[in-house]
Symmetry: C2
Subunit: 200 residues, 2 copies
DNA sequence: ACCTGAACACCGTTCAAGT
DNA sequence: ACCTGAACACCGTTCAAGT
């Protein structure tokens, strides 16, 4: 079904734009992701994208929504470790989250910004919410089994989320002087869990 | 054909540009910080900034370096709480760091990016390093007094730094559903400290 | 439906020339 | 030294017109 490889796009321009946009984004950042440049690469006029995306922001939002869908699939798999202790599940989950973010750093930055932009389309917000639902469910499970202290799960998850988000920021920026994430992520999760356990 | 000549910008154009640039940055983000727009605001030609900044990146780097100098002053004061327990000092320090970041969110984002950009000027890297030296010193103090576990201070501080950086990212993005930072920052620091204390 | 071609208003950068 | 004015090559967006 997926043939038509010629640079003249009949019905694939939208897909081709999204793919080329992500490539350009990871290669040279948002400023290098220009509609005109993408059009040039795909062999169409710079006005062609207008048929598929209302404007550059619309392309960005679509790219972000797709990112959250992919993240949702990955986090969904990572969270489905029933029968494990909470600590193991959280560590696996965190590793999957960080792994995805480090594999697509520019895309994740764009997802983060797009999601928080005032006026973000609700389709994007829903995709983001769906992806993050696995984390909330994980913390709820931890509370149900008594492994996580009682309280607002949103707030509890926030601490872990903040740590990971910061880790990703720093790591994405590239300044990680030879410290492996494979050991640092569990280390951070261990410390978080020390604070999440039942009070004594 | 005669047009009234624009008067030369009296005083320091370089200073005026930096000030106007920071304002534009916080108001509308990096894309709204345009050299041409700044020149218009200050009543000079769009080519004038060239005398003071080699290009837009140069202005950005100067803005970032100034930001780190201001941060250095604030963190220096916050870290000078000798005679207090480590936990108190770290919490005060973290509050000062988060406070600065939330007061100047766009500037801090620019500082973070500029610092990690390949090819960042060494003056900028030095300013950043100076600002962060207070945090490293704080952790070294904690180790000297036995309140912080032994080990690489850089790595230990990284966990706390990551948490704060993530907290700032999330908070700056604006999605904090009525959770006060005055209670959340100490809460996060408490949990970090649980993991930093001597092993038992 | 899908794309073109031209136009408009922006942008950063460069450079010879003015004061 | 400091700034101007014009030029160049980009950009996003719009729209009448082609197929």
């Amino acid at each position: 079904m997926k043939v038509l490889p010629r640079p003249y796009h009949h019905g694939n321009l939208r897909e081709a734009l999204l793919k080329a946009a992500e490539q350009a984004l990871e290669d040279g950042g948002l400023p290098s992701m220009s509609l005109r440049e993408l059009s040039r690469e795909l062999g169409v006029t710079h006005a062609s994208p207008r048929r598929h995306f209302a404007g550059k922001q619309d392309l960005i939002d679509a790219l972000a929504a797709r990112g959250f869908e992919r993240m949702d699939a990955i986090l969904g798999r990572a969270a489905k470790n029933n029968g494990q202790v909470f600590k193991t599940r959280l560590t696996k989950f965190a590793r999957a989250y960080v792994g995805f973010a480090l594999k697509h750093p520019a895309l994740c930055g764009l997802m983060f910004e797009a999601k928080h932009r005032p006026g973000a389309p609700k389709e994007l917000l829903q995709a983001s919410d769906k992806a993050f639902s696995h984390g909330r469910a994980l913390f709820a499970d931890g509370q149900a089994s008594g492994e996580v202290v009682e309280g607002d799960p949103y707030r509890l998850a926030l601490v872990a989320y903040a740590s990971l988000q910061g880790l990703i920021s720093i790591s994405t920026a590239g300044k990680f002087k030879g410290i492996s994430l494979d050991t640092l992520v569990p280390e951070i999760m261990d410390r978080i869990i020390l604070g999440l356990g039942p009070r004594n």
